[in-house]
């Protein structure tokens, strides 16, 4: 995820302090890892250096850290460009899941690879169930549902791959060692 662009997006509606940005980030992207304050200020420092944001006053009463930031014209243009750029479809073949099965077949045997696939499938299934409970809770917001859907869809794809690979692991092992 591109934290700088997300922060630019959060500033598009008006000036914000660092702590407000952190709060808005965690609220809007509840499935993402909560943003650390250090990361917020480090990112703001880089955006400031690059001329994408500008200081917009300081809340004296609240102390020196309460600097507010505003988007510059250049920042708005950068945000606009980012929103208009299609992300390269990531084929996910660099996934650790994939690498682990390859290595298991190289250094061990089909049982080891199959054992890993089965254990991984169980972990994925449990996470899928947790996310499903989250999105079907009566208190779930649309943001919760959409965020959970994103994770569920990827886990679902992984699960299908784990299943089909389980079926193919013996053939794959023969090929690796032929």
């Amino acid at each position: 995820m591109s934290t700088p662009h997300v922060l630019l997006g959060l500033l598009a509606s008006g000036t914000k302090h660092g702590y407000e940005l952190k709060r808005a980030h965690d609220q809007r992207l509840p499935q993402a890892r909560p943003l650390a304050f250090g990361q917020v200020y480090a990112t703001l420092g880089r955006l400031l250096r690059d001329g994408l944001v500008t200081p917009a006053g300081q809340d004296r009463l609240a102390g020196p850290d309460r600097m507010a930031y505003a988007l510059t014209e250049q920042g708005r243009a950068t945000l606009d460009q980012w929103l208009g750029t299609v992300e390269p479809p990531i084929p996910y073949v660099n996934s650790t899941l994939f690498a682990k099965v390859v290595v298991a077949l190289l250094v061990a045997d089909t049982d080891r690879a199959r054992g890993y696939l089965i254990a991984q499938r169980r972990a994925h299934t449990e996470r899928l169930r947790e996310l499903t409970a989250l999105k079907t809770a009566p208190s779930a917001t649309v943001a919760d549902i959409v965020g959970a859907d994103y994770a569920i869809t990827h886990l679902d794809a992984d699960l299908r791959w784990l299943q089909t690979t389980l079926e193919r692991v013996a053939d794959w092992h023969r090929e690796v060692h032929s």
Partner: protein, 233 residues
């Protein structure tokens, strides 16, 4: 507490075995997903549990009563009262309206016409499709038909609902909305659900998942007996 119990179920279609000695318990109010590849015997298991098919061997007991030896009429009566069945395509009666379709199981069970209609309207409302009361299936979308079918399956407040790929013909969002309703309503009245699906994300709605393979439960499918054996070379 176990309500529905299957032991050593065997069922073949001609020379082709579909179930090969399967044993399974379903507790009250439990939602169990039955998954596995095509042809693994999922639907046959569901049909045997629901009393639609008779197993060639093994037994099915419902609250301590062995039901697989019952007559077709007795098993059919069970399906009208304590069991509900839901298929991939709603199988609504084309000539009847939404409310008439939902009221049908109650009428067959001897409920008066007025009370049956009131219950049907209530269930359509609970599924968020009160407006379909006077609409015939031909004028409904797939998702609407399936909501009517769920209302019809739950109107008798069955103790077990058997659902065979209930979202299979629907798009993802519609299917998931439907399942959310189904799971919530079943939970409210402690109806157990046996949910046959081949989709992991649908199985994730269940309390428990059973993976089948070649007519038996594949315990390694849940990683229970997963051999993490096999040392490095």
């Amino acid at each position: 507490m176990t309500q529905l119990h299957a032991r050593g179920l065997v069922k073949s279609y001609g020379p082709t075995p579909a179930l090969r000695g399967l044993t399974l318990d379903i507790a009250e109010g439990e939602i169990v997903a039955v998954t596995g590849p095509s042809g693994c015997g999922k639907s046959t298991l569901l049909h045997c549990l629901a009393g639609i098919l008779r197993p060639d061997a093994g037994e099915v007991t419902w609250r301590g009563h062995r039901i697989d030896t019952w007559s077709e009429a007795a098993r059919s009566r069970l399906r009208r009262t304590e069991f509900g069945v839901l298929f991939q395509f709603g199988h609504l009666v084309a000539e009847l309206t939404g409310a008439e379709n939902v009221a049908l199981p109650l009428l067959l069970a001897g409920t008066g016409r007025r009370a049956a209609r009131t219950a049907a309207l209530n269930w359509l409302d609970r599924l968020g499709v009160a407006e379909l009361a006077d609409v015939r299936p031909g004028e409904m979308s797939g998702g609407q038909q399936q909501r009517c079918a769920i209302a019809r399956a739950l109107v008798t407040e069955p103790r077990v609902l058997f659902a065979d790929e209930p979202t299979g013909a629907l798009d993802t969002v519609t299917g998931e909305q439907l399942l959310t309703h189904l799971v919530r309503l079943a939970g409210e009245q402690r109806t157990a659900v046996v949910l046959v699906t081949h989709e992991p994300r649908i199985a994730a709605y269940a309390d428990r998942e059973i993976v089948m393979r070649d007519g038996v439960i594949d315990h390694t499918g849940l990683g229970l007996d997963a051999p993490l054996a096999g040392g490095l070379r």
